[in-house]
């Protein structure tokens, strides 16, 4: 838990141009980018359309590239619990440090106790640190109007390897309740853009110390790591400097909230190509993801570039590079010359 201090981004898989194979070079590029950004960890998004074997390989590549430099986590968003167990076992072997607790889309518990039982099984199957997830994706609203099944999470929070909680959507009352209930036991985090502005209060009152896996590149580049600087200023009590940076990066909030990877946040999945475009525009590998995939429109691309310029960061210009993938594009250019 002590190591969870800083900002964790998300790494999404990269593919060969025909989408048939993972692009190892592209994946490694993105891990190096996460390090260059100043993030303390990167979360492998495992729900982006990979087979179980590919997910294992993806995680292995990321862990290998990250070794000793930043932490690696993974999302437990798989089609079955069996896959979850298998990935957790693999994750331990290849050196991942923690995992975001999630449930298969077919998991339809009748009561909160079933959530506890399933999570118990997950917890007992691994030594990795687990991050409880407050999200509206699981459709647990039938157990509690906040979408967070607090009765179940109260028990899950006491499991020995549950170390943290990701507050994953911007409901202020749910945020309050989550920090109040678990702030003394777990490292409750900033897991959604809306909480960025509240971070100084969450830091002061609850000791919040990390931002959970997300598309945090929205607000910075490796050359101008504005969000990392904001984090550092808040953590060190430099309120005026933190505020100055917040208001500088605020113009990008609109994009993050309305046209970013979340696409409104209420459809239960993310716009992965947009996530990769966000990352590419400040130096990441880029490249599209497999079907089923949301479309990357010209408006989204232009909006991203405009948001970056609004906060004083010059975006990468050549969209062709994005569609091929930066690592591959550079190799092709070198070979051609």
């Amino acid at each position: 838990m002590e190591k969870l201090r800083g900002i964790e981004n998300a790494t999404m898989p990269s593919f060969t141009p025909d989408m048939r194979e993972l692009d190892e070079e592209g994946i490694r590029w993105d891990v190096r980018q996460a390090i260059a950004h100043g993030f303390m960890s990167t979360m492998c998004a495992c729900e982006v359309g990979l087979s179980l074997e590919e997910n294992k390989r993806f995680l292995e590549i990321v862990c290998n590239e990250a070794a000793g430099k930043i932490l690696v986590s993974l999302t437990l968003l798989f089609d079955s619990l069996q896959d979850t167990f298998e990935m957790l076992s693999h994750a331990e072997k290849v050196g991942a440090s923690h995992a975001l607790l999630a449930y298969p889309q077919t998991f339809r518990p009748d009561n909160p106790q079933e959530i506890v039982e399933v999570t118990n099984q997950i917890s007992e199957s691994t030594n990795l640190g687990l991050v409880m997830y407050a999200t509206d994706k699981f459709d647990f609203v039938r157990f509690h109007p906040s979408h967070v099944p607090f009765d179940a999470y109260d028990k899950i929070a006491d499991l020995p390897n549950v170390v943290s909680m990701k507050v994953g959507f911007g409901d202020p009352a749910m945020t309050f309740e989550s920090f109040e209930r678990y702030g003394d036991r777990l490292q409750v985090n900033v897991g959604t853009p809306w909480l960025l502005g509240l971070f100084p209060l969450l830091r002061k009152r609850y000791g919040a110390q990390w931002f959970g896996g997300g598309s945090w590149e929205v607000w910075q580049s490796p050359e101008q790591p504005l969000l990392v600087e904001y984090y550092d200023h808040v953590v060190n009590g430099r309120t005026d400097r933190a505020r100055a940076i917040y208001w500088r990066i605020a113009p990008a909030n609109v994009m993050a909230n309305r046209a970013g990877i979340a696409r409104g946040g209420d459809i239960g999945m993310y716009h992965w190509p947009m996530g990769k475009y966000v990352s590419w525009s400040v130096g990441g590998n880029g490249g599209l993801t497999r079907q089923p995939a949301m479309r990357l429109t010209t408006e989204l691309m232009q909006g991203r570039k405009a948001a970056l310029r609004a906060i004083g960061i010059e975006p990468r210009e050549n969209d062709e590079e994005f569609f091929i993938g930066r690592a591959r594009y550079e190799r092709q250019q070198a070979e051609a010359s």
């Binding site: 509690h144 202020p172 502005g197 509240l198 500088r248």
Partner: protein
Amino acid sequence: MLMPSFSPDLDTLNEEAIRLDVCQSIEHGFFSSLCALESGLTPDEQRRMLEIACDEAGDRIGISLSLAGESMAENIEILEYAESVGATHALLSYPQNFRPATQEDVYDFVSTIVDATGLGIVLFVSDKFSFRHLHPSGVPFDAYERLADLDNVITMKLGGMDAALILECFERFNERLLVTSVVFGMLPMLVQNFGLQWSGAWTVEALQSPQKPYAIQFMQHLQNEEIEEAMEIYWRLTPALTAMAQVMAPAIPTGTYNWSLLKFQQWISGGNGGMTRQPCMRVYQRDIDTVRSGLASIGIECADPDDQFFEGRIQ
């Protein structure tokens, strides 16, 4: 909030209906009601509405007004009148054509208004004023820092959702002003960290009825530091809050409000209802169904037919 009610042809104010709505606010347990004077009234009608509201309210609740005049002169005139009929405070606003080049312009404009009245003034932080050229937050902080020190500037209403904006305003101004937010879900942390003591002005009727004053109870529990009880009520009324957010969302970025829809939310629990004048957003059946269903799921139902809303209870 107190919106005007009209005769069936929308030609004249409906005094009896306005009085009903003031009484409803008292029944709901509100401490004050804000007259929304920018909802399509002539200056004379604005005065008359304010007079009726103050007369009906007497010393039972406070009556405030929005300073949404088209010029500084209009604002000063209505403030003078408001004082004479017994209004208690006024929500600062800016004319549509007010385009300050500097924060000094904001200060000069507001301080002139403040100097002209004995009423308490509520500083207003809102996107609708387009002040982002003065500060990226849209809050002219330098001007507001000075304005907060004027004697009859007493509170600050935060109309936005940005958490950093809310936090910074509380940290900067809460020791001098009674700062408040309209983000209902943030009230627990704002009470806990800053001692917030009021919320307004907004259509609280979307969350309660006089018989089931959930929002009032929620605030009382927070004030008494009974967090668990407060949150229990909060989560109980969540379906109504969700419905409110859903129907109000389309108007939020427009810089004005769907006055008629706000009146519908009040009509459900006994308010007069009725449409407001052109230019007027519509009250769609889908919105009616959403509001009714949200409130019904927290036990607040209205047996009266929808048509009665469009006429108003008192005609």
